[in-house]
Symmetry: C2
Subunit: 476 residues, 2 copies
Amino acid sequence: MNWLPDHSAGVPIYKQIAEHYESLIVKGELLPGSRLLTERNLAIQLGVNRSTIKSAYNELKASGLITSIKGSGTIVSEYSWEIDPPKLINWNRFKGVAFNPTAVINRRIREVSRTPGMIDFANGGISKSLYPVEELQRLLQNIELTANLEYSDVKGDLEFRKTLSDHLKKQYEVSADTQEILVTSGAQQAFTLITQCLLNPGDSVAVECPSYAYSLKCFAVAGVKMVRLSVDEEGMRPEEIIELYKRHRIRMVLTHPTFQNPTGTTLSLHRRKKLLEICSELKIPIVEINFMNPLVHNDCDPPSPSLLALDANKELVIHIESLSDTVAPGMRIGWVIGSKSIIERLSEVKHEIDLGTSAISQHIASQYISSSWANNVRRYTAELTKRKQLMNRTLTEELSNEFDWSTPGGGGTIWGKLRKTCNELELLESCIKEGVMVVPGSIYGADKGYVRLSYAHCHENEIVEGIMRFKRALSV
Amino acid sequence: MNWLPDHSAGVPIYKQIAEHYESLIVKGELLPGSRLLTERNLAIQLGVNRSTIKSAYNELKASGLITSIKGSGTIVSEYSWEIDPPKLINWNRFKGVAFNPTAVINRRIREVSRTPGMIDFANGGISKSLYPVEELQRLLQNIELTANLEYSDVKGDLEFRKTLSDHLKKQYEVSADTQEILVTSGAQQAFTLITQCLLNPGDSVAVECPSYAYSLKCFAVAGVKMVRLSVDEEGMRPEEIIELYKRHRIRMVLTHPTFQNPTGTTLSLHRRKKLLEICSELKIPIVEINFMNPLVHNDCDPPSPSLLALDANKELVIHIESLSDTVAPGMRIGWVIGSKSIIERLSEVKHEIDLGTSAISQHIASQYISSSWANNVRRYTAELTKRKQLMNRTLTEELSNEFDWSTPGGGGTIWGKLRKTCNELELLESCIKEGVMVVPGSIYGADKGYVRLSYAHCHENEIVEGIMRFKRALSV
């Protein structure tokens, strides 16, 4: 450790030490289970009194980041999900990293995923070869620009919201008028707006565990506490919300009910109804992620209606969609559907933040949705179905003794658990050495030993070879 | 007043009353100088004890929103600029309105500006007829889409940042490499990122008064206190910063040194250097707004180099530009230039907020800047010069006895002061009746009696008629 406290800083030394360790843990540079130096040894190393180290460790224990275990000394706590972020919003401090200690893994995946020859089972997004380039190119050539050069309405271009309203009716039998829709710069901005408008630092939110990593980051940065809803093969168990509400006064439930990322599970109709009933009783709004819904595989039944469709008056549900998973992420187009009053509130903050979304992108999206979307989604899911079947078959032939997985009814990823325990970072390094990238489960807040394998982004003819490489990595 | 406190709410009645008045003042429904009811009369009207009203008024006095003036009773304070926002960030509360009480005026302008027949001297943006529609349309037809459908780098598409780097060198002799540039969804997002990364609630920022309204809103919503830098015909007086720093520990200076919005003034070279010297001494970063810089009128000299150009190592200056004022606002493209470390920090938060800007918009902007930008800006400023001269001539002929104004060296607006005092809302209503829209100065935090007249957005042949209508409105 090169770091030393700054005696001239005017900040108590014990605080500086506590903050230094907190930042190492938050950034993932000290992983759960890592052992800290004894108070005595750290005192010597930093040249301070032992009582100073004691105070620093006590502060870290109080916020739940470290634990003393009899006989083993002091270690970084296993789970940081239910820990209260120690301070109010502090952008400087959190520096954009999630509160669960996965930054090292994320960074490593980003570093190597573009290495030539690497088979990418990590990226869950559409393959470049499947982008609807021709259709979009054709639309661009016929675009009428004049109106699209002005500021669009902060809720989104009215024409686009009308297109979305028709689209929702046709695709999902959901009625939403233009006042109930807010266009955002991708789903990520929707999470930001919801967090900033509807939650305060210190509030608790119930989140499926494991869950979509980027939405978790928004909460973490805003000082919002996340409490876990466990997930089985039918999705979350809504009854858990009652207990969580009693213990944590949760203010919101975040759920991804259809082809959940990362587990691929789909919430059953029975549980959807139960969830709405419980949240209605407790008056807790539900944020529904609906990215994957259109990607129903050809060999599976369509999922139950969305929570939004079941909550026809939009009293409880705030619904988030995006074109990133069905068209292309570079468009940065998403939208939120909810009651007029929620949409009004989110729009005001959107106005503060960026005065509205690119009118040109919205125009292209609008034209695309009304002309080519449905056909392309069909073509794309047919491709995903084929790839899933191939990956599933290869896993069955090659890895059924080492890996338990379930095949999803839609989307582009398979979620499974290794029978043997392993160290995630070591697994990742073995995979990299063999030339295949996968995502270890802790990125999503999962217990040890889980892995997400994506068949959406790689080339179809890489699937068999990729699984072979994964198998070799596991045998190390 | 229809409002009554809610005795069953569990919130003390005096607090409810204080919050009710706060919200009326913040929304601009009670303007500065308005008289409040006496404690006695309000107590009767609300059916509560007089001591409850006393407590509520004391709370409002403590936060500086109202003042007791001997002999005149209790009035809404004249200036809210230097008032500490009473609470930490509270999106619910501020609901997206600026802390200076101009919302009524803003709303009224928005309501009537699209009335048929209205001559719009309020909108400072480019006329629809001057958008470079043909050039952009041509670019769209030749766009190569494949790469633009992926997520772009969160700092911005690398090709676009290279284009910007060349552009800055050529146009302003500013060296900025791609790591020193962050592409944003318009300048507004740049303000948001700077506020959220570099400031904490309760911090003070020195801002030119009057100043650009939307940047002020970002600060207000984030609980940042704004302190005034006065502006004369050479711009702000940098020496004032020393005193403000002593009194308020200001953490940042926001300045718009060239063709300032709304005053049109340009900071002299001498003052630019002084500003850098003082801020360097006090270690206060400077945020420089540079929207209007390219719009130098044909009959005027080019302005001094930007603060960024004078601070070649980017030690102090964070520089914001946008295409909204030179190309079209609907593109939602802006950028920030600063030191690598600042850009890195802002990018991390940008990643949290929206995962990056629309890659398609960036691609179009990049093509446009390297092919058509310079020519179009020349054509556009020639048009602005003609219009300014016409408006200036008409004002001289028609209003030189009632109005004192200065003609700017660039940009699209004229700023002036009425010789007769007037009530801004009444003036606005008279203008509306005559069929012309102007912006009263209080929107920008100016003293009473100022008006901004824009010649950028209306049709050229409406200028003479618009000034005649303004003259009639003044004579009421």
